[in-house]
Symmetry: C2
């Protein structure tokens, strides 16, 4: 058995440390790590992935914490991917709020992984997906993906889940109204957190109205629902979990037709994103080694060429004889 296969076996057997090490190696761009991922992939696809997104400060971490607690109480195992790119250049994962989740650290049924930077994997989305694959292969029943709902990458990660929760709070500014409008389109469930605060009922009614105005009620499609929670006080969590299960059941009904469609879509997206990074990094390698990259940069700097024409020339030369 080669090394990659041995690692895959150990992860599938539940060795948490080997899994944690693999995730680090994936981020660091260790080539062998990707081989392990290939072996794990066929064993993934069973977990229910839940995306949790919303502006900074709406209490996503506390809500995630409550969902973990609730799922654990019903005997489910949970994986968590917390995507926090608010420190795009600092390199390390930021703890901060995560620390609150640490009470689950000794629970073997919970595995939490923070992701702060793109790493070497090619994109935050690719990194997040790789971690989801590992957690899924490890046999976690639920995988919670928590992302800050600002920035396209972050929203896309949450939207790539099977069930997407968009979290908001009463009384956010105008600025956030716009955000909400954008996030609305990816929400399967909307959560008004901090529902003990003033204006919660109004925010709740506003969201209901917005949904009512913009949703086309096609039979057989999912109608987004709105929930009120107070994660800090552990209120509304049971109801929200029922909503999550209702969406999960919706995906599984009729022999799982909706789920199959969702899966195929997500997968196509995942493949294409990996392809983008893959073809690009290989091409950059080629033009760096041949010295062509430097020549192009010099040409453009001297205004003898422009980046748009240069790209066309390189792409034509690169793919002109491709066999795909």
């Amino acid at each position: 058995m080669d090394k990659a296969q041995e690692k895959a076996e150990r992860i599938l057997a539940g060795e948490v440390r080997v899994a944690a090490r693999l995730m680090r190696d994936l981020d660091d761009g260790v080539p062998e790590a990707r081989e392990v991922l290939k072996l794990l992939y066929p064993r993934s696809g069973k977990a229910h992935v839940i995306g949790i997104t919303g502006s900074p400060g709406v209490g996503k971490s506390t809500l995630t914490d409550r969902l973990i607690q609730h799922l654990r109480e019903t005997g489910k195992t949970v994986g968590v991917v917390a995507v926090d790119p608010t420190s795009p250049f600092s390199g390390g994962a930021i703890l901060g709020d995560r620390i609150r989740m640490q009470r689950h650290a000794l629970d073997e049924g919970v595995f939490i992984r923070s992701l702060a930077t793109r790493g070497h994997f090619g994109g935050l989305t690719a990194s997040a997906r790789a971690i989801i694959t590992v957690l899924d292969a490890m046999g976690k029943d639920y995988i919670l993906v928590e992302t800050v709902g600002v920035g396209q990458d972050e929203v896309e990660i949450a939207a790539a889940a099977y069930t997407t929760l968009v979290v908001t709070v009463p009384g956010l500014g105008d600025d956030i109204q716009a955000l909400k409008a954008g996030l609305l389109e990816v929400a399967d469930l909307l959560v008004v957190n901090k529902a003990d605060k003033d204006g919660a009922e109004r925010t709740y009614q506003d969201l209901l109205l917005m949904l009512d105005l913009r949703t086309i009620k096609t039979p057989g499609t999912w109608q987004p629902r709105v929930y009120q929670t107070s994660a800090k006080e552990n209120q509304g969590i049971t109801e929200l979990m029922e909503g999550i299960r209702a969406h999960q059941e919706f995906l599984h009904q009729d022999g799982g037709r909706a789920l199959a469609t969702t899966r195929a879509e997500r997968l196509r997206q995942e493949f294409l994103e990996l392809l983008k990074e893959g073809v690009f990094s290989r091409l950059v390698e080629q033009i760096t080694q041949s010295g062509r990259l430097e020549a192009i940069v010099q040409d453009i700097l001297a205004r003898r060429s422009d980046p748009y024409s240069a790209v066309e020339t390189v792409v034509a030369a690169a793919l002109g004889k491709s066999e795909v």
Copy 2:
């Protein structure tokens, strides 16, 4: 003269409507628009590009507005690119704060363009850069690029400027401390806005200390500076502009060696980003037409393959006979 050339000429002659139309066409992916951009490119490279970034709510738009006003008073022409992706799925540009800038709308020396989505150009960064090229070719002396400092794309856009301003305010939460730490690395100038608020002096001192701790004072490199402003009250703007000019002079000293390095770096980045989109979209076209994409998705869904192996196979087939 062909149509693209005619448009380029009209934009270079200062026809604002033709320029505005081109920007829309670029976003809509009109092929001819890119031809116009190619023609404009050799005429760009003269403007000084200033990035302005920071968390939502720190007053970036008001500050930008004041900088426009100040630059206009000294007879400079100004282009503004406001990148607001907080509505990733809504499609249209969000006005909101922008409206405040509308008082410049009748000033021919100012051109403001909002950018809310990726459009068809391939990436928010690519779209922003294309607009900068147009504004630059139009002869604007200064181009201000305002972005929300959350999300990697947004930070990168601001960091791609020649002079990058990172804006903060007194008394932001922990969450934002982390952000600040990340943004610190891209800042040429740090701005404590809303300096009339409690805690401004402390934030100012904190930033000075942070800079002092982490900056390696290599002779001949730029030492980031910290400024206090109250954009709303129009205070501290003159001093900040002096800081911007000092950085500009730094870039131009010794025959512009620092500027040349910065330019070459930015350009390499720009070319590579365009190349990434270019090679990817062409490859996707090829594998979609040949039916290979669908076959791959089905194979992975059936767990006969995995996305990582599939990407390797496609990339090898695509670039195996490339001539670059």
